[in-house]
């Protein structure tokens, strides 16, 4: 049965327990035939990549727990001159330490940048999906330790949903993702005259080059968050409330955008 990882970015709190559990399992321990010991430091077969989003005070963190994507169409496999990188029956991709020469071509080929060179042993290394544990019916260590169930592992028939991270790589990964960050447009709305935050104001983002728009209401702190927008698009943001002059802005979602404190003037 094929295996699958499902990572939910919305659940990850960046605690890095998965990194430590991975090191605990692999530093100093050999699991033939799947892996040789990870070096004491410097390798992150599991890493947590922080993404800081927004501007003070509308800031959030997203964390991407990044490990080998165990691709069905793996660029690393194609790049290996020694056929040392293989796919198990369950789909986990592993670098055979007995066959690897440490040439580093796979490291260059991997678009996810999750392969490391072990200089001491002269081999390339990466996440094995804890194949040695999976064979015993156990979960990978990162999955076992995660206190937020942000990393789930199981039979592909049981683990539902998710999308590829960077589908444009066409690598057909077995690690699928939920909650991958999409840009937001945020801000807060204040009455120009009274300096009071205004709640319940409709804020709409209209995609200028595609159909569709999103509307949210400002919350009790006057904040609005237009979430889940597409990256690198142009949106017309419209802020309207009865009795106020409308506010318009054209915003490009190169990244998360914060409009700051938007002042609405009441109609005279």
């Amino acid at each position: 049965m094929g295996k699958k990882f499902l990572i939910d970015v919305d659940k990850c709190s960046g605690c890095k327990l998965c990194i430590i559990a991975c090191k605990d399992e692999h530093v100093g321990s050999s699991y033939a035939p799947w892996s040789r010991p990870q070096p004491d430091t410097g390798h992150f077969w599991m890493d947590v990549q922080p993404i800081e989003r927004g501007r003070t005070p509308r800031v959030r963190m997203s964390y991407l727990p990044l490990l080998c994507q165990h691709c069905a169409n793996a660029p690393c496999i194609k790049s290996c001159p020694d056929d040392a990188i293989r796919t198990r029956d369950d789909g986990l991709v592993w670098i055979d330490p007995a066959a690897c020469t440490g040439c580093g071509l796979c490291q260059d080929a991997c678009p996810y940048d999750v392969i490391f060179i072990n200089d001491e042993q002269g081999i390339a290394q990466k996440c094995t999906g804890c194949a040695h544990r999976v064979d015993e019916g156990l979960l990978p260590r990162c999955v076992e330790v995660c206190p937020h169930e942000a990393i789930v592992f199981g039979d592909e028939t049981d683990v539902a949903g998710g999308e590829a991270y960077h589908p444009e790589y066409l690598a057909e990964p077995r690690v699928l993702w939920k909650g991958l960050p999409k840009p937001w447009i945020a801000g807060s709305i204040t009455d120009f005259h009274s300096d009071e935050l205004i709640s319940g104001v409709a804020v709409t983002a209209v995609d200028l080059f595609a159909d569709g728009s999103v509307t949210v209401l400002s919350d009790d702190f006057g904040d609005f968050w237009l979430r889940g927008l597409e990256k690198d698009r142009k949106y017309r943001v419209e802020i309207r409330k009865k009795g106020y002059e409308a506010f318009h802005a054209i915003v490009t979602t190169a990244d998360d955008q914060d409009l700051g404190n938007v002042l609405l003037k009441s109609v005279q």
Binding site: C12, S13, G14, C15, K16, L17, I19, I20, A21, K23, D24, E25, G28, S29, D40, T41, G42, E52, G54, R55, T56, P57, R58, V59, R60, M61, Y63, R141, E144, V145, C146, P147, H148, T190, D195, E196, L197, S199, D219, D220, F221, G222, D223, N261
Partner: protein, 857 residues
């Protein structure tokens, strides 16, 4: 499995005070710890369920500890003190005190080490007539287990030296309320709660919150850092309960801390140590708009009218308007108004945990009192309006636990080591003592005076008692230091001065007892090698999470070098002094403790059976049983927290039994104390922005408990360093410093730059993290980084980034010779400047502290 392989339960290394979390499950193979894994609660243990109209809440069977715990095995062989070490240029006749921290060590035998210690104790007695010149520091802030690696044996030993040998008292360093000081020194005077350290009791509080609460204020609370570290993953689970119950989370803190960054619905950043001004302005809005529980204030509180006048400026002071608070806090007035209306309009609880920036700075007692006022105006104790700890050690209760547990299990389910009374007691055992916050001054100044023992469970009136050190003018003061922590310079304030104190000519002997060569340990004359938790058997008394249980800790590996457990070290010293009988064999001691618990008395498990079985985890009551239990205490299904105070309008530990806006105790007994007047107010001082000093030092350091360390512990672990530090251009891993782009830009500071944080007390180096996660004009630097002293431009600095080295002394508010009226901690919210430096100018390995070489290893 081969014979060499075994699975051993090991106490969470950062346990402390003999109380633990669920253990690490360690796989040992051929004398080596191969892996450390989370504990899974067996299926046959009945978990609790909290049944509400918003769903049923329980905990997962998986229990996870902070990352540090699973990396702890890396410390077993790294940086260890392996043998007794004697400083090369120390001798009884010429201790060379000024060389402490610079000279090397030589290995000596245990015999010789014990001879030296006993000879030093005798010499103190002969010269000064008692043991009073010995400062014993132990208080539980190091790696800890139940008994073997417990940091109270120094006090126990000296207690016996007094009562058995008649050598007189010792100077007991009393642990101050180090992460809840504002509640202790302040809020107690408003609402009492003496037995729960000044914070409202947590009895069945979740039943109420999950049923009724609509919004929770996280006042600096960080379940993802301190909560996970102290209570394990239940702290994270409790945040998930809030989310699942649809409760809005608003985080108020200078930083967007780790929990707020992923869980909060709203972040309200404010300048460090300005919470008092925010609370006053909230009250102003409520008064103007009538948004508070007037009936409750009338029936449940006293002294409100004076407070009302103060807030409205009717007492001659300025009105505490949102605009007034904006200038102090940096929070826009419009946001203050919105918060005030939200708070009043929704059933709002306030959540804290140990630490947080509000509670660890100067005058935190004002902030905590004002917080109590604010909660009182919104009817604390009424449904949904509670004081909430996300993850409660079991002592934060009156009669019932936070979550459904049997009261008899709470009462006698797990063994309690009475040694903790040396740290959490009603008062110091020795009449000669100093609060930990004044350890440095007690050595360096001729005499100090203060009020309050600072003992955790001291009566509130104790805070008005005057104490002095030395106790009499002809007293020799401190001549010997017994350091069982190695944490003073990184966990308490004024750290540079502490290092100076250790090098004072008056100190004849410094004994360090510690597993690692770190922090102030290399300022000792003699260092005794203590063990890690992996190297000895012990009991694990699980009490800091939501379930109570006990585990037997087998010895996982052979001791490293000639290390001994803390208990064994003190037993050997005691033996030299003829005190064998007060140090019984470990197994006898543990057996006795176990036999006093329900596991033995009710479940009939013998000690030998327990050692085979390895664990006892108590079942929780069913929801129906829990409801019956609650009935006995007058609580309905979704009553909890301060429900009984709400329904009875009395019964608090205050003179009036009610919430006191104007403290009658302070008014009667401490009226001349300008620092802590009967009515709490906003008070400016020298460490707040806008003071004269702020012209030179315009930035405020906000210092939280670390996410990846436990206080000062574990900062040398390579795995922890590589996930938590900032790699400088020289490759060195610097302690992170959060700085807002608006402060970084004018200083030419970019991400990854090495910056010097300095004030008049000295300087430390940190690595810049330019971030939107901190309010402008503040810096975020976690406490407890491992000291690594170096020279920069001819001055001694700390390259390790141990920020407490430059935190203020309590004396600074008053000046030497004057009485300290509130011996509070001041380790967050103090002024500094940040300057980018050229790493090429750092001269590493300059000697002090880390130049110490060890021969004979």
């Amino acid at each position: 499995m081969s014979d060499q392989r075994k699975i051993v339960y090991v106490a969470h290394p950062a346990s402390g005070l003999a109380r633990s979390n669920f253990p690490l499950v360690c796989h040992v193979d051929d004398g080596k710890i191969v892996r450390s894994q989370p504990f899974f609660i067996p299926e046959d243990v009945r978990l609790y369920e909290i049944k509400t109209s918003r769903g049923v809440f329980t905990r997962p069977r998986k229990d996870v500890q902070m990352p540090l715990a699973y990396a702890w095995k890396r410390r077993v062989h790294s940086n260890r003190v392996k043998y007794p070490l004697l400083r090369n240029d120390w001798s009884p006749d010429n201790p060379n005190p000024g060389k402490r921290g610079t000279s090397g060590y030589s290995r000596i035998s245990w015999d010789r080490a014990l001879d030296i210690i006993v000879a030093q104790m005798k010499s103190i007695r002969e010269k000064y007539g008692s043991m009073e010149p010995v400062l014993v520091q132990a208080d539980g802030h190091g790696q800890s287990g139940y008994m073997q690696s417990l940091h109270f044996w120094g006090h126990y030993l000296f207690d016996r030296v007094n009562d058995r040998l008649g050598w007189g008292w010792w100077t007991q360093q009393v642990r101050n309320p180090d992460s809840w000081e504002g509640y202790y020194w302040g809020a107690k005077h408003v609402w009492g709660f003496e037995s729960t350290l000044g914070e409202p009791q947590q009895d069945a509080v979740w039943d109420d919150v999950l049923e009724h609460t609509e919004m929770v204020i996280f006042s600096g609370n960080d379940p993802e850092a301190t909560g996970l570290g102290m209570s394990g993953s239940i702290a994270l689970e409790m945040v998930k309960w809030l989310k699942r119950a649809g409760i809005k989370i608003v985080a108020i803190s200078p930083d967007l801390n780790y929990a707020a960054a992923v869980h909060a619905d709203k972040w309200i950043p404010l300048k460090p140590n300005t919470d008092s001004a925010l609370y006053l302005a909230l009250v102003h809005v409520w008064l103007v708009e009538g948004l508070y529980d007037k009936e409750y204030v009338r029936t449940h509180t006293v002294g409100f009218e004076e407070f009302r006048k103060h807030v409205m400026g009717e007492d001659g002071s300025v009105a505490k308007t949102p605009a007034w608070a904006e200038a102090i806090t940096g929070i826009p007035a419009r946001t203050i108004k919105a918060l005030a209306r939200e708070w009043a309009g929704k059933k709002t609880s306030l959540s804290v945990y140990f630490g947080g920036p509000k509670i660890r700075g100067a005058l935190s007692h004002m902030a905590a009192r004002l917080e109590a006022y604010v909660l009182a105006m919104q009817g604390i104790g009424s449904p949904g309006r509670q004081f909430l700890r996300t993850g409660a050690p079991s002592f934060y209760k009156n009669s019932l636990a936070q979550v459904p547990r049997y009261p008899d299990v709470d009462k006698s389910g797990i063994a309690m080591n009475h040694m903790i009374e040396y740290a959490i007691g009603k008062g110091p055992k020795s009449p000669v003592f100093i609060p930990r916050t004044l350890a440095t001054e007690a050595i360096l100044l001729p005499s100090i005076e203060w009020r309050g023992t600072s003992a955790a469970l001291a009566k509130t009136e104790d805070q008005f008692q005057k104490y002095r050190f030395p106790p009499s003018p002809d007293h020799p003061g401190i001549r010997m230091v017994w350091n069982e922590n190695g944490s003073q310079p990184g966990s308490w304030g004024n750290g540079w001065k502490w290092l100076e104190a250790l090098r004072s000519p008056q100190i004849e002997f410094v004994l360090g007892i510690h597993p690692w060569m770190e922090n102030d340990i290399p300022f000792s004359d003699l260092i005794l090698p203590a063990q890690t938790n992996f190297e000895h058997e012990d009991l694990i008394a699980v009490q800091r999470t939501d379930l109570l249980s006990m585990f037997y800790q087998d010895q996982a590996i052979e001791p490293v070098g000639e290390s001994k457990s803390d208990y064994e070290i003190h037993r050997m010293i005691g033996q030299r002094l003829g005190l064998d009988e007060v140090f019984p064999p470990v197994d006898d001691w543990l057996k006795k403790a176990f036999e006093g618990t329900l596991a033995s008395t009710k479940l009939g498990i013998t000690w030998e059976e327990f050692k085979q079985k390895k664990s006892v985890i108590y079942d929780c009551p069913t929801w129906e049983e829990w409801l019956d239990i609650k009935k006995e205490f007058g609580l309905g299904a979704h009553d909890g927290g301060l429900h009984n105070f709400w329904s009875e309008a009395g019964g608090l530990d205050t003179p009036s039994g009610k919430i006191e806006f104007v403290s009658s105790r302070i008014a009667e007994q401490d009226a001349d104390n300008l620092e802590r007047p009967p009515l709490a107010k906003w008070m400016t001082h020298s460490e707040v922005q806008g003071s004269k000093k702020a012209k030179d030092y315009p930035l405020s350091v906000m210092s939280n408990h670390p996410r990846f360390r436990f206080h000062v512990q574990g900062d040398d672990i390579d795995w922890i360093r590589e996930i938590s530090k900032v790699r400088g251009p020289d490759g060195y891993l610097y302690e992170p410093c959060w700085i807002h782009p608006s402060d970084a830009l004018p200083r030419g500071i970019a991400n990854g730059d090495v910056i010097r944080i300095h004030n008049e007390r000295g300087a430390v180096l940190v690595g810049a993290v330019v971030t939107e996660r901190i309010i402008p004009s503040a810096l975020g630097i976690e406490h407890g980084a491992r000291m690594d002293l170096a020279m920069l431009e001819g001055k001694l600095i700390d390259r390790g980034g141990c920020i407490n080295l430059i935190a203020p002394s309590l004396m600074e508010k008053y000046g030497p010779g004057e009485e300290i009226k509130v011996p509070e901690m001041n380790v967050s919210g103090f002024l500094v400047e940040a300057v980018k430096i050229d790493v090429a100018a750092i001269v590493a390995g300059t000697g002090l502290g880390y130049g110490s070489t060890v021969s004979g290893h």
